[in-house]
């Protein structure tokens, strides 16, 4: 009871602090919005580079609701070719295409990364032979591979998926390799004493014990795959969110560009936070 009493007192003391933090946040946001609006109205910067908040809100509304079109999706499944058509605002068609590209990129790049990471983490010799290559290639700017991806996979979604997959591969592989090395040896010995085969050891011991490392790797991988895919779309594509951004730039439709960037940032940060919560990872400290 005394313990509970102390805890309650502490939380009561902490309550006004939380209130002041919220107030400060509101004040910062309000100041930023007010400054923006003043800049837009004053014309100190080039007209239209800083459009008014109302114009951006209107563009955001239009982006999410208007220009209804038929979105087609094709999925070849062997001899059967699934095709459907959905009528929806143009933005969601582009979002759907980008999401599909990123999803496939994560599936391919993340899957390969996980496999390579498991092998490198479990085998010391292979790790010393090949992990430095993966480690040092990881931070190179992947977008420069895009011309090669175009040659190999064409101008369509293939080259964008490949860009995302290359970007996603490295963080997942490195994270998985480090995750395998951090597994408690006792767990592996328990598996051996139960005569678990390689498949059982991987699925019953390695993967559950590496959950946090895999999720952290996937979190980083998805973030980088998103950047890789979208950058490829901005460079050469007529479909997807990246192409929407570059279209808005070409037409100098600044409110629409801001609106697209806002939606994109909200989605990216939201996905990152969601995956971090799934793995109980602090997104601030784990970069």
């Amino acid at each position: 009871m005394a313990e509970t009493g102390r805890l309650t007192a502490a939380s009561v003391r902490a309550a006004p602090r939380l209130g002041s933090v919220t107030l400060l946040r509101i004040a910062i946001i309000a100041t930023a919005l007010l400054t923006w609006e003043l800049l837009a109205a004053s014309g100190w910067l080039y007209k239209d580079v800083v459009p008014s908040l109302i114009a951006i809100a209107k563009a955001l509304f239009n982006l999410l609701t208007t220009r209804v079109m038929a979105c087609q999706a094709d999925i070849p499944m062997g001899p059967i070719h699934l095709r459907w058509e959905l009528w929806m605002p143009e933005f969601y068609c582009h979002l759907g295409r980008t999401a599909r590209e990123i999803g496939l990129a994560v599936l391919i790049g993340g899957g390969l990364g996980l496999l390579v990471g498991l092998v490198l983490g479990a085998n010391r010799f292979l790790s010393r032979a090949f992990e430095p290559i993966v480690y040092y290639l990881g931070p190179t700017p992947k977008i420069i591979f895009f011309p090669l991806m175009i040659m190999w996979f064409g101008l369509g979604p293939g080259s964008k998926i490949a860009m995302g997959a290359i970007s996603c591969f490295f963080p997942v592989a490195l994270s998985a390799a480090s995750g395998v090395r951090q597994i408690d040896q006792v767990l592996i010995r328990v598996g051996k004493s139960f005569r678990a085969n390689a498949w059982q050891t991987t699925t019953k011991i390695y993967l559950p014990a590496m959950r946090a490392a895999i999720i952290n790797g996937l979190r980083l991988g998805i973030g980088i795959a998103l950047i890789g895919t979208l950058l490829a779309e901005t460079k050469l594509s007529n479909f997807g969110i990246g192409s929407l951004i570059i279209q808005a730039y070409s037409l100098f439709d600044m409110p629409r560009m801001y609106a697209t960037l806002i939606v994109l940032f909200v989605l990216a940060i939201g996905a990152n936070t969601l995956i971090s919560r799934l793995g109980h990872i602090d997104p601030i400290r784990s970069r």
Partner: protein, 257 residues
């Protein structure tokens, strides 16, 4: 003798195997292209790429382009370091502000800031300023976060020693907090500079302006395949060397890490 050989193999064996596998892969690709199993219009022969290195370095003026990219990285690095450390110190000094904004800075670190390059082009134009500002935007968050982490992690005993010497707040920061936090801050600077380098080269490629990134785009547009591959190899080499140098510097600053 056998034990000695075994020791040498254990020490250098993995590196030798790694290099041998890469060399074999290159040889196999060369062979597959020569027998037309891989189209030479998609992938040039590795021997052609090796030959084109000299041509690219001389004809495309790689040293000048390298200096241009390095200069942009340097500009972004200076901005990231000065502004990132200042903002980090400010957040450390004002705990309420830190509580209110640290999650935002974390969110900024995970946001795809590089996609704002069309916006930066509108604001700054298609020039080096856009590239430097993109590098700066990408590298800022880790420097702020690591500066806050480093300053907050300074040992209490060191701060108490400073207070017992009646140091002013300014002296306490410059003489005790900053030196104690320097190794952690450097981790942030290293991450920030790597993000800046990635973005600088990436934006050069995307907006077709500047140094090495532009060269990749330009050679690809000219369909000079050996040249494109050689330049990509060159960019990879530069970024790997840069990454290794940053790691060495970090190890020097954090010998125990």
């Amino acid at each position: 003798m056998a034990a000695n050989g075994n020791m040498t193999w254990q020490k250098h064996g993995p590196a030798i195997v790694g290099c041998a596998v890469i060399a074999t892969a290159i040889a196999v690709i060369e062979l597959l292209i020569r027998v037309d199993l891989i189209s030479r219009f998609v992938m040039p022969m590795p021997s052609e790429i090796a030959v084109s290195f000299e041509r690219v370095i001389v004809e495309e003026n790689i040293p000048r382009r390298f200096l241009l990219t390095a200069g942009e990285c340097f500009g972004a690095g200076i901005l990231v370091t000065v502004i990132g450390i200042s903002l980090g110190a400010l957040l450390h000094r004002l705990p309420l502000l830190r509580q209110a904004t640290e999650t935002w800075v974390g969110a900024l670190a995970s946001a795809p800031t590089v996609l704002m390059y069309p916006l930066f082009m509108v604001i700054f134009g298609r020039n080096a300023t856009t590239i430097i500002m993109m590098g700066f935007a990408a590298g800022l968050a880790p420097v702020i976060l690591k500066t806050v982490e480093g300053l907050s992690g300074a040992r209490r005993v060191l701060i108490n020693v400073g207070r017992s010497f009646n140091l002013t707040e300014r002296q306490l920061f410059w003489k005790i907090l900053l030196p104690a936090a320097l190794p952690t801050i450097f981790v942030g600077i290293r991450l920030g500079l790597i993000f800046a380098l990635i973005n600088v080269v990436g934006v050069e490629f995307l907006i077709n302006f500047g140094g090495l990134g532009q060269l990749v785009a330009e050679l690809a547009e000219r369909y000079d395949l050996p040249g494109t591959y050689a330049t990509i190899c060159f960019v990879i080499l530069i970024s790997v060397l840069f990454f290794m140098a940053m790691e060495k510097a970090e190890r020097w600053l954090r010998p125990g890490a």
